[in-house]
Amino acid sequence: MNSQPRRGSIALNPPDCTSCMLCVKECPDKCIHIESHPVVQETGGARPVTVQYLDRFAIDFGLCMYCGICIDVCPFDALAWVGQSTSSAATGSGSLVHEMDQLAAEWNSSDD
């Protein structure tokens, strides 16, 4: 799944994303948008553990250059190339912004 298909798109597996923001920082034209909030978990240890809960993950494919840097830098392989051919043309600029559920559906539809 992580091999580079030349005509692919980029998909997200939300459970693997820790909102670390590395992809957002490395994206050359800032087309990835992440919103998250901290959640304190009582794990029974010495201290409670704070984790980031992912609220929003969106890629603006109107801006995206399909360079794949976000996929390369993701420490948890939450991003991957999917698909061999793009079916990506949109009739409205807003529909080029793929939200988390759409990115996850693209991930789930590609089980190769």
């Binding site: 801006l63 995206c64 250059m65 399909y66 793009t86 043309a89 009739t91 600029s93």
Partner: protein, 151 residues
């Protein structure tokens, strides 16, 4: 940016003819021409077949075209010419935004000299994403455009 090219597209077995005028403003202009040539070799894989891109003599200027393909970075200096080109086209003309720069400004979205999206100047019917878009994306854009025209 005045090359009008015939694009014969087959959708559901029915030939549809588009006359495309390309505003090739940057590197995507080359990519569009290359993709359009390559697309004719992809026939059989898709429902769409582009024939030709030979020079046309019946619609040799933008007034006879019905699709404006904006491919490349729309700088503020060239913006008036893109608008003028659109206004010279007949009523019902469609606009395709080809590539990230035409859609949103792409990597130059924050530049003072670049229009961050050609849809700020003219109404856009279909956006083909990519930097540059692949030939398959061009096919998909044409298909989307034609389905939109027919609807």
């Amino acid at each position: 940016m005045q090359d009008t090219t015939p694009v014969a597209v087959v959708v559901d077995g029915q030939p549809v003819h588009l006359w495309a005028v390309e505003a090739g403003l940057a590197c995507c202009g080359v990519e569009y021409a290359a993709a359009a040539t390559l697309v004719s070799q992809l026939q059989g894989q898709t429902a769409i077949d582009l024939n030709g891109f030979a020079a046309s003599d019946s619609a040799s200027d933008s007034a006879g075209a019905n699709v404006l393909v904006v491919s490349g970075t729309v700088t503020t200096a060239l913006a008036p010419y893109v608008v003028a080109l659109y206004q010279r086209m007949g009523p019902g003309a469609r606009v395709m935004s080809f590539g990230a720069c035409a859609a949103t400004g792409g990597p130059y979205w924050d530049s003072y000299a670049v229009v961050d999206g050609v849809d700020r100047l003219v109404p856009v019917d279909v956006y083909v994403p990519g930097c540059p878009p692949s030939p398959e994306a061009l096919i998909d854009g044409l298909r989307t455009l034609l389905l939109d025209v027919r609807a």
